[in-house]
């Protein structure tokens, strides 16, 4: 089951690092088995960071919830 709480719990593992570097990772919504997040901070403009976080967060969500499908970044 993909729930907002479970997605938040996964994001919470990396959030302190993001915040410590002047950024954040916000959960916008969870619809069906997909989630939408927004990244803020210095690293947002960096294409490498964008890819790393997109793939990394998505695979961490799938590890936690095998039925998780897609992560969208706004």
């Amino acid at each position: 089951m993909v729930t907002r709480e479970r997605v938040e719990a996964v994001l919470e593992r990396v959030r302190p690092f993001m915040q410590a570097d002047g950024g954040d990772i916000q959960l916008l919504d969870v619809v069906a088995n997909c989630a939408r997040i927004r990244l803020t901070g210095t690293c947002v403009g960096c294409p490498s960071a964008h890819m790393t976080l997109h793939l990394g967060v998505e695979s961490a969500l799938r590890d936690e919830m095998p039925d998780f499908e897609t992560l969208h970044i706004n």
Binding site: V14, F17, A20, D21, C43, C46, T52, G56, A60
Partner: protein, 345 residues
């Protein structure tokens, strides 16, 4: 930091931790030695780097250094690889070929992954180490080799001996000067130093100034467990050097797999051992030498089936001297004579 060891910018063997200082002190003590060193350490802790250093600090530094991983070959291949073969020894042996031992003549051979040498091969290796001669596969000539032997293992050989997977006599032959490399997670205080050294190297190799590192990146690296040890840290730094686009190492440069596993760790679990929290590491030369002496004497006693006169001969000391030394290093009386018949000739 290590005045007597040839450490250049590119051989990053750094560490201020007590454990690494103990390693460096040990290296300095044995730098003039010709004895076999057994280097134990998890994958990625730098066994080959240390082996290279030992070679470079030795009298043999101008002679070849040959490193060979014993895990790479099957039982038959390893014999030909180490000892060489003559033309026609087997299908495909179209010409004479010297083995690694002959190639290392006058220098040092590093036998990495010694724990992967099959039992059948171990006895052959033991013979070579004892007689310092090799016979090529399919050959009849005995070739003398003057080689210093270093061995590397990621497993506990003593444990393997107890399980019957490693020959005891070979173990004693190899374990003359034991050196253990600590995993990175047991010397976390070295992580920032290593990180800076690696990043500086990778950025400089691209002709760029070493970047500034955001403190949170160091935090994340400190919290991560580094199962691949220094090699994994080196790769993480190379990745950062390749991917960083803004000139500052920030959290977005760090691989997500590291971030998530570091984040799963409770912050209080990090507690990097600060140098001030520990007394400076000391190393007792007397204790180390006693340990070494005990090792050699046990080996000789085993090899001579407990016969002390024979053991004294093997060690090139008087019979009476051996008795004193046995007392000195606390081996005590009634040392069990080796029950196995695999004594050395």
């Amino acid at each position: 930091m290590t005045p007597n060891l040839p450490i250049s910018r590119d051989t990053v063997v750094v560490g201020r931790s007590a454990k690494m200082r103990a390693v460096f002190d040990f290296l300095r003590v044995i730098s003039g030695s010709e004895s076999t060193v057994l280097i134990t350490g998890e994958s990625g802790t730098g066994k080959e780097v240390i082996a290279t250093l030992i070679h470079q600090a030795s009298q043999r530094k101008h002679r070849p250094f040959v490193a060979v991983s014993c895990a790479l070959f099957s039982e038959t291949l390893i014999e030909s690889e180490l000892f060489g073969h003559e033309r026609g020894a087997f299908t495909g042996a179209v010409k004479d070929r010297p083995g690694r031992f002959e190639m290392a003549d006058g220098g040092t051979i590093f036998l990495d992954d010694i724990d992967d040498v099959p039992l059948g091969m171990q006895v052959k290796l033991l013979r070579v180490l004892q007689n310092r001669t090799v016979e090529r596969l399919g050959g009849t000539r005995t070739v003398p080799v003057n080689v210093r032997v270093l061995a590397g293992t990621k497993r506990d050989l003593k444990q393997m001996v107890a399980e019957g997977k490693f020959r005891e006599d070979l173990y004693y032959r190899l374990n003359v000067l034991p050196l253990t490399l600590p995993p990175l997670r047991e010397r976390r205080e070295d992580i920032p130093v290593l990180m800076e050294a690696f990043l500086e190297r990778f950025f400089r190799s691209r002709g760029e100034q070493p970047p500034e590192i955001a403190p949170v990146v160091t935090q994340a690296f400190l919290r991560y467990d580094w199962p691949g040890n220094v090699r994994e840290l080196e790769n993480a730094c190379e990745r950062i050097a390749q991917m960083c686009t803004c000139g500052t190492v920030r959290i977005g440069c760090v691989a997500a797999s590291i971030l998530f596993r570091a984040g799963a760790r409770a912050p209080e679990a990090i507690a990097p051992a600060t140098p001030s929290a520990h007394p400076p590491a000391t190393i007792s030369l007397d204790d180390r030498l006693r340990e070494l002496e005990a090792n050699l004497i046990s080996w000789a006693l085993k090899a001579s089936n407990g016969n002390k006169s024979k053991a004294a001969e093997l060690l090139q000391v008087k019979r009476s001297t051996l008795g004193d030394r046995i007392k000195h290093c606390g081996l005590g009386l009634g040392h069990p004579a080796s029950a196995s018949g695999d004594a050395a000739a």
